[in-house]
């Protein structure tokens, strides 16, 4: 939970997972609190967009927007643990920092709705994916960086086989079947954490890119 302390800065207190609502805005870096405090004074409802506009005025702040309204209390109750995304991603520009550690449906929807082909979706903070998330992300022709993903299952490997563009995975081990799927990827495929590859796997990878 984020609260304002006496110095008008944000501090966090622990929230139990079951009380967390994924549909909020969340800050990791300290925003321009004086403007925000002014804006949310009273109990009037404010929109995520209004907050985002304020946040954009501060270069280092990061924010996640779901397009939903929140009250002052809701704003104060924001958990500061997971849903972080850089404003560069939201505005469709390249981002070089992977700050997102959890993917909720609204976030994924927003990420995939961009028409910017040069977009880099940098999700290096993620250490796990659902099969559905892997499938959705793989459908977009983007540079997709998932260096925090250390293991994938067969279904996810199959999804990634269809991804076009750049794909960076942090996997350190994979089965022959998974490598076979990944080898069907026709874009840039980075698997630099794989240290031991057997002959069968290298044979599969030799066909990557249509070779």
């Amino acid at each position: 939970m984020i609260q304002f302390d006496e110095n008008k800065t944000l501090k966090k207190t622990k929230i139990e997972p079951e009380t967390q609502n994924p549909e909020y805005i969340s800050f990791k870096n300290k925003p321009d609190t004086s403007d925000l405090k002014k804006k949310i004074s009273g109990n009037q409802r404010i929109t995520h967009e209004e907050i985002a506009d304020l946040i954009k005025e501060t270069q280092d702040s990061k924010v996640l927007i779901f397009g939903q309204e929140m009250t002052k209390k809701e704003f104060k109750d924001i958990p500061d643990q997971d849903l972080i995304i850089s404003k560069e991603i939201l505005s469709g520009h390249k981002s070089r920092s992977g700050l997102l550690t959890h993917l909720f449906p609204d976030v994924l929807h927003k990420l995939l709705n961009t028409e910017d082909w040069s977009l880099i979706i940098d999700l290096n903070g993620l250490d796990s994916l659902t099969d559905e998330q892997a499938e959705l992300l793989s459908k977009k022709e983007i540079r997709l960086s998932l260096k925090g993903i250390k293991h994938i299952n067969d279904a996810q490997a199959e999804s990634f086989s269809k991804h076009k563009g750049w794909l960076f995975l942090g996997i350190s081990a994979a089965s022959n079947e998974q490598i076979k799927w990944l080898s069907m990827n026709n874009g840039h495929l980075e698997l630099n954490n794989l240290i031991n590859l057997n002959d069968e796997q290298l044979k599969s990878l030799s066909t990557q890119g249509g070779g």
Partner: protein, 125 residues
Amino acid sequence: MAKAFSGHLSKLYLDGITSLSVTQAEWLSKHDYGLSLNGIKSITNEALQKLLGSDGDEYETREPIFINGLTSCSDEQAEAISKCQRDVFINGVTSITDKQAEILSHHKEILTLGGLTSLTDKQIY
């Protein structure tokens, strides 16, 4: 055409691999597109020949190969590189002999040796 286009966009990064057997090198030599193997610090002459497709097999010009982890180069390896029909990046090599420079000069594609710390007049010419 479609293949050529996709090839331009394709590259395989396996920088975690630190060694390659001859068989493995032979498999990877069949990868037609960009290939990054910067984790390899040393490789046998035969494996490098296989990897670069310079062992007599006929290959068309292909996408670049990056072996920037290599820190030295034998005469046999210089021969293998000179016959390779793809751009070769070996920026980890810090020195070469005059003989190796002469051999490498026969390479017809792009060759980068950005790690060289000195060159003799003979190597330049």
